[in-house]
């Protein structure tokens, strides 16, 4: 999807979060046939939740809130500060 800005063109694409959740949804969907019949709903529900987030992130990216790839160079947007720093990796030291 492209948007004209001045003499340049801004290309919008799916961000990494959208791709990550889409891959997760596909993985869960692939587990459905392998799952026992009584637990297939778990795989479907997981795939559905992941797909939901993939769609939301994709819409956010395509409608202007997400990552953009400038064809001509524009100043990069400032990275917004997040209130919650990333959690530490699990497990303790050996």
């Amino acid at each position: 999807m492209q948007t004209r800005i001045g003499r340049g063109v801004l290309r919008r694409r799916m961000g990494r979060q959208a791709l990550f959740f889409m891959a997760t949804a596909l993985l869960c969907a692939a587990l459905v046939p392998a799952a026992p019949a009584s637990f297939r709903w778990v795989a479907w529900a997981s795939a559905g939740l992941a797909a939901w987030w993939a769609v939301l992130f994709t819409l956010e990216d395509l409608l202007g809130g997400g990552p953009q790839e400038p064809v001509t160079s524009y100043p990069a947007p400032a990275e917004s500060e997040t209130p919650f720093p990333p959690p530490p990796p699990p497990g303790g030291p050996r």
């Binding site: 990494r16 979060q17 990550f20 997760t24 993985l27 869960c28 587990l31 392998a34 799952a35 026992p36 637990f39 778990v42 795989a43 997981s46 939740l49 992941a50 987030w53 997040t82 209130p83 919650f84 720093p85 990333p86 959690p87 530490p88 990796p89 699990p90 497990g91 303790g92 030291p93 050996r94």
Partner: protein, 331 residues
């Protein structure tokens, strides 16, 4: 002689449970210590207590799965269970020494399967049981991830207009006591039951119990005591070395990750599915981290989980198969 062998193997099973709690202790206390909700000493006691009392919350469905849905019950003997436990413990030691990722839960399942195949061939395995376990090896961390992500986003959305950050953090710190307790309940309920299942299989194999028996109360109490003590001793050891290695975590993130992991473990314990609690909390923490940016997802952590999926069951299977060979040759 048979009684001595039975007591010895039960002791080995309880030792496996103790060391399971020992090396999983960091998972139980890391988030609640990093947010300074509890002091390390109190966090260890908190986690160990809820590991122990989990028997009051959960039934013994996971134990029944281990005892009756992985290997055909008639195949179990004291020697098979012994070889399975040694296979699991040896694989844990090997991977610890080599720095490879592993899962004690999956190592136990692989060990029991390897010993059973060594005794009675591939027909001794129950396909439907393995099918359920294999699918949830992959699904449980994914469920933790999705729930962790969703819970944190919902919380952030619900409180995005609330400006009194200190008061908000105080509230989430209190909630984290609940989520940490719930996670320790889920951990105890899931992991202790695996040892219960092994002991139940032993007692049935030694004809001390009929094939349709449920887990006796003394087995329930001893397994939960072993894992509680393991958490207490393991957490205590880690408390002295964790220190500043833990990145400071906001209470809301810790609460979300623990709540997501606890919900996953509660569901799997209720459904009788043995899963890796380490992988489940890993998935939940990754899910919480990915609310900010995907670069917060540490690819090394995710890679270790995937390698554990691939290596653990085959590795412990192979070791247990080898350990059983002298018993097979002795007839």
């Amino acid at each position: 002689m048979a009684l001595i062998a039975l007591v010895l193997v039960i002791a080995i099973a309880l030792s496996f449970d103790f060391f399971n709690g020992f090396h999983d202790a960091a998972n139980s206390i890391a988030t609640v210590v990093s947010t300074r909700v509890l002091s390390p000493r109190v966090a260890v006691a908190w986690a160990a207590f809820f590991n122990f009392v989990a028997f009051l919350v959960f039934r013994t469905k996971v134990a029944s799965t281990i005892a009756k849905d992985v290997v055909k019950p008639g195949v179990f003997t004291i020697a098979v269970v012994f070889a399975g436990l040694i296979g699991a413990i040896a694989w844990d030691v090997i991977t610890w020494y080599l720095g490879l990722p592993t899962s004690s839960s999956h190592a136990l399942i692989g060990g029991l399967a390897g010993a059973a195949v060594a005794k009675a061939g591939w027909g001794s395995l129950i396909g439907t049981g393995f099918q359920k376990i294999a699918v949830f090896i992959v699904l449980s961390p994914i469920i933790g991830l999705l729930l962790g992500f969703t819970v944190l986003l919902l919380v952030m959305w619900a409180f995005h207009r609330y400006h009194k950050v200190d008061r908000l953090n105080r509230g989430f710190r209190r909630l984290q006591l609940v989520s940490a307790a719930a996670f320790s309940l889920g951990h105890g309920g899931n992991d202790a039951q695996k040892t219960m299942g092994v002991i139940l299989a032993l007692l049935i194999a030694a004809r001390h119990l009929p094939a349709t028996a449920n887990v006796p109360l003394w087995v329930v109490l001893s397994a939960h005591t072993a894992i509680g003590l393991g958490t207490a001793f393991g957490g205590w050891r880690i408390v002295h070395t964790m220190g500043s290695r833990i990145t400071k975590l906001q209470p809301v993130s810790g609460m979300s990750a623990e709540a997501a992991a606890a919900a996953t473990l509660f569901f799997t314990a209720h459904a009788g599915i043995p899963v890796s609690t380490t992988h489940t909390i890993t998935g939940a923490i990754v899910g919480v981290g990915s609310t900010q940016r995907l670069s917060a997802v540490r690819s090394g952590v995710a890679g270790r989980v995937v390698w554990a999926w691939i290596l653990t069951i085959p590795g412990s299977f192979a070791v247990a198969w080898l350990v059983f060979q002298p018993f097979r040759l002795a007839g």
